[in-house]
Amino acid sequence: MKKLLFNFGKYPVIEAEETTFVFQNQLNDLVTGEPVFIARGSGLCYGDSALSQTTISTLKYDKILSFDTQQGIFECQSGITLEQVLTVIVPKGWFLPVTPGTKLITIGGAVASNVHGKNHKTHGSFSRHIVEMDVLLASDGLLTCSHDTYPDLFEATCGGMGLTGVITRVKFRLKKIETSFIRQKQIKAKNFDELISLFEEYRDSTYIVVWIDCLKKGKHFGRSILTVAEHAILDDLNDEHRKNPLQLPGNKKLTVPPIMPWWVINTFSVKAFNFLFYAKNYAKEISKVILYDPFFYTLDAINHWNRIYGNKGFVQYQFVLPLEATDGLAEILRSISDKGMGSFLTVLKVLGKQESMISFAREGYTLAIDFPIRKGVFEFLNELDEILLKHGGRIYLTKDARMKPEMLKNYPELEKFKSIIKKYDPEGKIRSIQSDRLQLTPISNE
């Protein structure tokens, strides 16, 4: 049955078929029966990578297959969400080795985008922790791959945006925790230079993230809050928390109403929000111990928060620039504040060394900025693309809905990636709106 489909940014919206499966044999039938398809998890990528004329939803394929509570090894079908995984592993003293800023994504989505978290420097992207996984190819063959078996398939599947096949089973290593709490410290940075030196000072922290006010100009340019954190140990907890150190967070949620007043998205409200966020931190430094939820998944507490950008949707511009390209970073931030096109949320993270073929992460700074769709945005983003290319930067495919194929230039193993998808899907059945737009998949003759 056709329905309207879109991802987190609500742009683009297409009419497409969404099929589901509960058992492997049903998936086999879909893969052989559909002429063109792409796998789809929670649809929480921002752009068009989980969209195609037929999508195969993995959400019903969500069973846990094994959990070694001694060694911390977890094995599951690909449609399970991180939230469901956490509910099972946290009470046993384990955590996800890597997690993005939302726990509502699927494990399949975590692999296909090779997601990174606030600990990329120390823990890399998600794929580093995979023991092995199964991929169902377009030709209907199921292959188990890992760093050692079918390494080319493995490499191209991690961050490969679903283009090698449907990931069906993933076995991965967890991270040991003593408590489900986080010990965090928030530090104010007056400007860009101060921020860069704080990065240096706190480089050994496990988790680092920065909220940056993109609209500040002049001497306040780069005004931001740096948050560094570690998993709390028992000694960090107060008596109350110590009674139940591995507790799960509750389920309280706010909902953004379906129709937001227009003013919410104008520059004024963006400024106001940034100010509020900033004012929370009166002191230069604030330390506290909190449950993992508000630290990792701040926005999950607000249902449909993406509605705040209005009905036309938005795109998120997430890029990475090499560490030495701080000029490029400053140039981009300046262009954004000059245009007053800034976004509701702007998050800056440090990434460690690059570890796989097509994944986004490489050593450098990554910034994610939301742009509500309105007049001039796409032209402006094309300008930012120019700056990025010049400084060796690249864009995160999972956030992209609009860039041109030339922007893939700074993915050094692009050609190798293309040849591997061709090898495993010679008929070019697996394709998304994005893969067609970016010419990652052979031009279709329809």
């Binding site: 049955m1 589901t20 509960v22 058992f23 019903k60 969500d62 069973k63 846990i64 297959l65 094994s66 959990f67 079908q77 509910t87 099972v88």
Partner: protein
């Protein structure tokens, strides 16, 4: 062996069966999963064991193999405290009209097969003077309609059977609950455009079913509107009803 009570899920590959199995497991019941192809439910078994930390076992069961039912029930250890009958098929009614083999199969799965296995469970429970049976019938059984000719009548028969069984078992303290879902978003209905407000997710069905079971309800509709919709449909005079396209 745990001290938990045990629930038997007949039709464990269905979306509704999976949801009901998980719901009982989350309430700390041990679970026995039965399906035609037991290899299909191994993943559900591990999932239930790991998520809910209860015991879970799997069995092969075919509703149409009546002769095997006694041995199947015999083979369950421990015997389930609750038997939930979920299996059922809905074929295209035009096909079923043109091909009696199909109509017969639908009737035999939804009614004859259910009677065969539930008779066995009911006799056991009556002898034990405890136990419960939950049957998933359908609103389609509340009144015969052209668009659900065979399916509806098989479910009507199943509903009548459950009503009778409840009456028969009452004196022995065995509870029988009839569940009449309206639309449920499952594999069975994936290709039909269903009105959203009237359609339940399997997880909601399981929640409502479990709650009704703990309150010892006799008949339960999923989504309250259905009780009234069916009340109206049942009360349309036949001379009018027969002219309607339903």
């Amino acid at each position: 062996m745990t001290n938990n009570k045990t629930v038997l899920i007949l039709g464990a590959t269905s979306d509704i069966g999976i949801a009901i199995a998980k719901k009982f497991a989350s309430a700390k019941y041990d679970v026995q999963l039965a399906a035609r192809d037991a290899t299909q439910i191994q993943a559900l078994k591990s999932d239930i064991e790991i998520r809910y930390e209860v015991a879970c076992s799997t069995f092969s069961f075919d509703a149409l193999q009546y002769a095997s039912h006694a041995a199947f029930f015999e083979g369950l250890t421990p015997k389930p405290d609750i038997t939930v009958c979920i299996f059922g098929v809905m074929y295209d009614e035009d096909d079923a009209l043109n091909d009696f083999a199909l109509a017969e199969r639908m009737i035999n799965t939804n009614y004859t097969g259910a009677v065969s296995i539930l008779n066995i469970a009911a006799k056991y429970y009556m002898a034990q003077k405890q136990g419960a049976i939950i049957g998933i019938s359908s609103v389609a059984g509340d009144r015969g309609r052209a668009s659900k000719l065979i399916y509806g009548s098989s479910k009507a028969a199943f509903t009548a059977y459950l009503d009778g069984l409840r009456n028969k078992c009452f004196k022995d303290g065995v509870h029988v609950m009839t569940v009449k879902p309206g639309f449920v978003n499952t594999k069975m209905t994936e290709h039909m455009p269903l009105p959203k407000a009237l359609t339940a997710e399997p997880a909601l069905l399981a929640d409502v079913l479990y709650k009704a079971f703990t309150k010892k309800k006799n008949t339960v509709y999923i989504k309250w509107m259905w009780r009234y919709i069916m009340l109206i449909i049942k009360n349309i005079p036949e001379f009018q009803f027969k002219k309607m396209k339903l």
